[in-house]
């Protein structure tokens, strides 16, 4: 599998994401600096990591979404290349217009770091096909701005089209309809607030995030 992990100034889960991809998918991903204007050809995955790109100043993900590499990401996404945005990566993908909605400040106003319950709703995507429909899993969240927000029509559309990939089983951060992760229309771009890369081995206390990466392997194979 050929994967790329984007690196922005202030990304801080880029290494964790690369470790998870290498461990599960068997090949070391290319680390791509935000100022690159081109991405490698034939990518099987573009991963947008968590962290605080540009310090989360202005709006989370806003400045990263306007960096050079994102134009290349948009092109590849249009061609159907799988794009996975985790946490700050999700925020960047919404700011870049690849995913609908926005991630606002948590309803409780505080940063939240804990394991949360989730339900996998979409099991058709390249990222989720190894999960069972309505499977309950646990993944960690660690964010200040994870409150998913969109207008009612968009929310209805997301649900109708099966694009709500993951839903919190409790109200974690005020997200509309407890949405934790959404897909684009084509189903090749997934953004989610929880961190699957922090839950892939015994040392993490569980492996519920493993299949997020293993699913991609099946697609490639």
């Amino acid at each position: 599998m050929k994967a790329a992990v984007l690196v922005f100034p202030g990304s801080n889960c880029d290494r964790d994401l690369a470790v998870a991809i290498e461990k599960i998918c068997g090949t070391e991903p290319a680390m791509v600096w935000h100022q690159e204007t081109e991405l490698p050809d034939d990518l099987d995955l573009i991963a947008v990591p968590g962290g605080f790109s540009y310090g989360d100043y202005l709006r989370s993900g806003a400045m990263a979404a306007r960096s050079a590499v994102m134009s290349a990401v948009v092109k590849q996404a249009d061609r159907g290349v799988p794009v996975l945005g985790i946490c700050n990566g999700f925020q960047i993908l919404t700011e870049a217009g690849l995913l609908p909605g926005a991630l606002m400040r948590n309803a409780g106003l505080s940063f939240i770091c804990r394991n949360v319950g989730l339900e996998v709703l979409n099991t058709a995507s390249s990222f989720t096909r190894l999960y069972k429909k309505n499977q309950k899993i646990h993944l960690p969240v660690a964010h200040h701005d994870g409150n998913f927000s969109a207008d009612e029509a968009t929310l209805d559309q997301l649900e109708d089209e099966g694009r709500v990939a993951l839903r919190y089983t409790e109200n974690v951060n005020g997200s509309a309809r407890n949405i934790a992760g959404v897909l684009n229309k084509k189903g090749n771009v997934l953004g989610l607030m929880p961190h699957p890369e922090r839950m892939i081995e015994a040392a993490h206390g569980g492996k519920d995030g493993y299949n997020m990466f293993a699913s991609l392997m099946q697609v490639v194979a």
Binding site: Y54, G55, Y57, L58, M63, R66, S67
Partner: protein, 77 residues
Amino acid sequence: MKANVHVTLKNGVLDPQGKAIHHALERLGFSGVNNVRVGRLIELDLDDNVTDQEIEDMCRKLLANMVIESFHIEKVA
């Protein structure tokens, strides 16, 4: 009565956010930006009998962090 309170960092206080935005603007090709400072706008909808002194007290006690911020009150109507 409406009043807008503009809260800005005091002169000389580092504005990390402004600094990062400044860099990003330059990267996007906008030249001629000498400095960026970020503040907050707070819109107050007030009873007509609220005095100027009271608005100022609101600013000092809560709306602005007087350690690092200053404020400017703009009566809108």
